[in-house]
Amino acid sequence: MIELSHISKSFNVGKGNQFTALDDVSLNIDRGKVTILKGPSGSGKTTLMTVLGCMSRPTTGRIKLHGINVSGVTGDAGLDTLEITSLPERFLTEIRRSTFGFIFQHFNLVKGLTVLENVLLPAYPLGENFTILRQRGMDLLGMFNITRHAAAPVDRLSGGEMQRVAIARALINNPAVIIADEPTAHLDSALSREFMTILADFKKDGRTILVASHDPIIYDSTLADTVIEMRDGRVTSIAERG
């Protein structure tokens, strides 16, 4: 589904403090599978996720999306393949918001806004009818059992509840791929297991899941189909399971 070939990403290119976060990474992310990126801090996991999720461009290499339809963006005729590294920013944004749902380590919720508003945020620029959008938001809150907090400011919630809001927000545009960066870093074990249950449901729905983590609850989970280990910006091993 997502094909990376010879991806490198360097920061501060040409300056004294240049460093390479990704170094010649090639891999495939399969549709409907759970892929875990494992490795210590600074190994390049987050950078790889941002490149995969069209948040930043690689310095070199190519990324191809297979079988993903994005309105206004057409792939190679008949091949159903989209090479995204050379697309202008506008198209990247379009792909990002229609294909990927992001769950951030620090949740990245907007303080002061209500739970429902936070969930609806990614959909606002799409110009969808507000009544329909609101209903979808409420359905998602219902799915994660936080409907009662819909009108409450998000900063009044507990850590676990905040994460559920962040997950609901990631799902509002019904993305095919969920990207989660260290999702359990701020959760206790019970909440981390609850998160894994939610991931299992995503997998059942046929979504592609990509999680960066150095939490054993995640990378040792039976849910993982592929575990990619990274160190110093390179892929050191790829383990296929089940």
Partner: protein, 378 residues
Amino acid sequence: MNRSLERHRNILDFALSSLLRRRARNISLFVLYTLIVFALASVVFFTQALKREAALLLKDAPDIVVQKMVAGRHDLIPTDYGLQIAAIRGVKEVQPRLWGYYYDPFNSANYTLVVPALQPPAPQFIHIGNGVARVRRLGSGDLMALMTYKQETLLLEVQEILSADAELVSSDLILIGENDFRTLFDFPRDVATDLTVTVTNPQELTTVARKIVARFPDTRPILKSEILRTYDAIFDWRGGMMVVLLTAAVLSFVIFAWDKATGLSAEERKEIGILKSIGWETSDVLLLKSWEGIVISLSAFLIGILLAYAHVFFFSAPLFEHALKGWGVLYPSFRLVPAFDFYQISLLFFLTVLPYTAATIIPSWRAATIDPDAAMRS
């Protein structure tokens, strides 16, 4: 509803809840903004209305007023000058005018005395303005005592109180007969205060004026257009003076607004990063920030204009009255006729709403062009 409209609606909705989140800051900004627009719009409305009023007053003014000068000062003009001026080709009519001021020491008031050309009051009778009637507590049929220049009391009966509608001109006015006027001021028989000249062809006004000066070098003809220009200049000057006074307020507002609008807090920057990371384009962020700016500036502008309109036209501008009206030109307590100058208001709009909105957008644009992965790294 079409998607683009829905997009605007959704983002506007979000802009409103964003503004409410920083309630104290935005309300103080809004109040200050409204006050500035209110003050500036009041000046604009006021000067426009006064200019209009003056123009209406002067509509029936004579084409030329001829004054006699002595050492550069206004002097009484011999009435036989009028006969000779009437003989100039192109002059339709010449009328001597009698008018002057009377100081009433008991009430510390100045009255304007005029002998009307048409239907002057009969001897021993006067018509008085509302202001005079108020100050002297007079009604129709009462007697008014004036002290002549020969220290004799002149008793005149009030025949009529002038209509309150024309208070701007008539408040301090006393209409008096010619003989009583001359007795009161010990005014010689063969002179007048000035002469009014009506010309057959308005195109010849300057030619006639030139001929008058050539024949009587000791006179000064004043054209109607010059009077209008003087009025305009006076009101523009007064309006300008107010604007200068208000500049300090405007400047402090600009500094305040600039600080508030441009100083994106770390939290706002972070929010923009979050929006970008969850799929907002730079243009979406800019749309949000422009809506935020427009909501504050446009509503403050509209409310400021409405308040100024009420202040000037319903309450006669009590805040600026003294600075703008001045003595000897106009008189207090009259209601202005609403005058709305679209050009001036548009100018005010472009000077207040646009800079503020720009001041809001530019820093946001800078923040919005960050890479969306910045939020991922925070």
